[in-house]
């Protein structure tokens, strides 16, 4: 049976604002399937975003949604989750929002290991403002503000999250659509701060500047570079050149922030 996305979409909001071929819609569908799989209660679920194309996602989802300021999703979400721990809190946003202006909030949410899930749609560019380079734009690539090629090295979001203390880190792509919901389900079920990076495509502001002739070429690139972690184990370093690992990249059990703060409350009450 066709999946009933309408159940999770606010009526009258489609078509969404994203350009033809933009993968954000594919990611949103993955998120919706994950929410349905987990039977999340709409009234007890908050989807929080910053600013940018990807951050427009919450407006379409029928639950408690908070479209904050540029880069601040993780900090707002921390307030929501701490004040109401029983809520499921899911953050969404793009690579510029999450790793540049919001980079500090991102690493500290990872460090606290607070029980929230962060879905980062990485399309290597600031799309909404017209295609300026982001901290994830690969070196040498073109953006509206790197007309001679990008001199900056890019972030590896997954490594950044692991280094900062996130206890669940996964990566998928917009091409591998049927994997997206599975990664998000596992991320939400994980106790602690979970990060799901989805490699995405921006045909409008990134693709056309970087010699991609079409959306299809961009999708094919995602298909070609992605190597599941299991498959990668059997590959040589040479074979892995230019590839990106997908699947669950990292998982560990560590004290979760809400639970640790509950202990603070206990100690404070005992000291009273």
């Amino acid at each position: 049976m066709a999946f009933d996305y309408d159940k999770w979409l606010r009526p009258g909001k489609l078509p969404h604002i994203w350009c033809p071929g933009c993968g954000h819609g594919i990611v949103m569908k993955g998120l919706i399937r994950a929410m349905e799989t987990l039977q999340l209660k709409k009234e007890e679920t908050a989807v929080v975003s910053g600013i940018g194309c990807a951050s427009r996602l919450p407006g379409y989802i029928d639950c408690c949604t908070l479209h904050t300021a540029h880069g601040r999703a993780a900090a707002f979400a921390t307030g929501v989750k701490m004040a109401k721990p029983e809520m499921n809190v899911i953050l969404v946003g793009g690579d510029g929002d999450g790793t540049a202006i919001g980079g500090n909030h991102f690493i500290h949410a990872c460090r606290r290991n607070i029980d929230m899930t962060y879905i980062i749609m990485n399309n290597y560019i600031y799309g909404m403002t017209g295609g300026q380079f982001s901290p994830c734009t690969p070196t040498g690539h073109k953006a509206s503000t790197t007309p001679y090629g990008n001199p900056d090295p890019g972030f590896d979001i997954a490594k950044l999250a692991i280094g900062a203390g996130a206890t669940f880190v996964a990566r998928g792509t917009a091409f591998h659509a049927n994997q997206i919901d599975k990664l998000i389900v596992e991320a939400i079920q994980h106790k602690g701060f979970s990060v799901v990076e989805i490699l995405d495509d921006c045909p409008t502001t990134y693709g056309r500047r970087n010699k991609y002739k079409s959306v299809i070429e961009m999708m094919n690139r995602l298909k070609e570079v992605a190597v599941p972690v299991k498959a990668a184990e059997k590959m040589t370093a040479e074979q892995l050149q230019g590839k990106v690992l997908t699947g669950v990249l990292y998982k560990e059990v560590k004290p979760e922030y809400i639970e640790e703060y509950a202990k603070v409350i206990e100690r404070a009450k005992a000291a009273k």
């Binding site: 049976m1 066709a2 489609l14 994203w18 091409f175 049927n178 079409s214 299809i216």
Partner: protein, 65 residues
């Protein structure tokens, strides 16, 4: 056993004409007709659902029994 065919619904007011569904259908069921995706060969459909999954615009529903 007789093969049951799904119903593929294309919601044109949502379709942005990106070609993703057409290009990545493994059995070439779909085609672009003008601006929109359209069903060309329903008989070939294997109900893999990839077009529905990959449509960024909520414009395809593959309705199976």
């Amino acid at each position: 056993m007789e093969k049951t065919l799904p119903k593929i619904e294309i919601i044109e007011k949502y379709c942005k004409g990106c070609h993703i569904c057409v290009e990545f259908c493994p059995t070439k069921v779909l085609e672009m007709k003008g601006f929109y995706a359209s069903v060309k060969n329903l008989e070939a459909c294997i109900k893999c659902m990839q077009c529905e999954l990959r449509c960024p615009d909520f414009a395809i529903k593959v309705i199976t029994e």
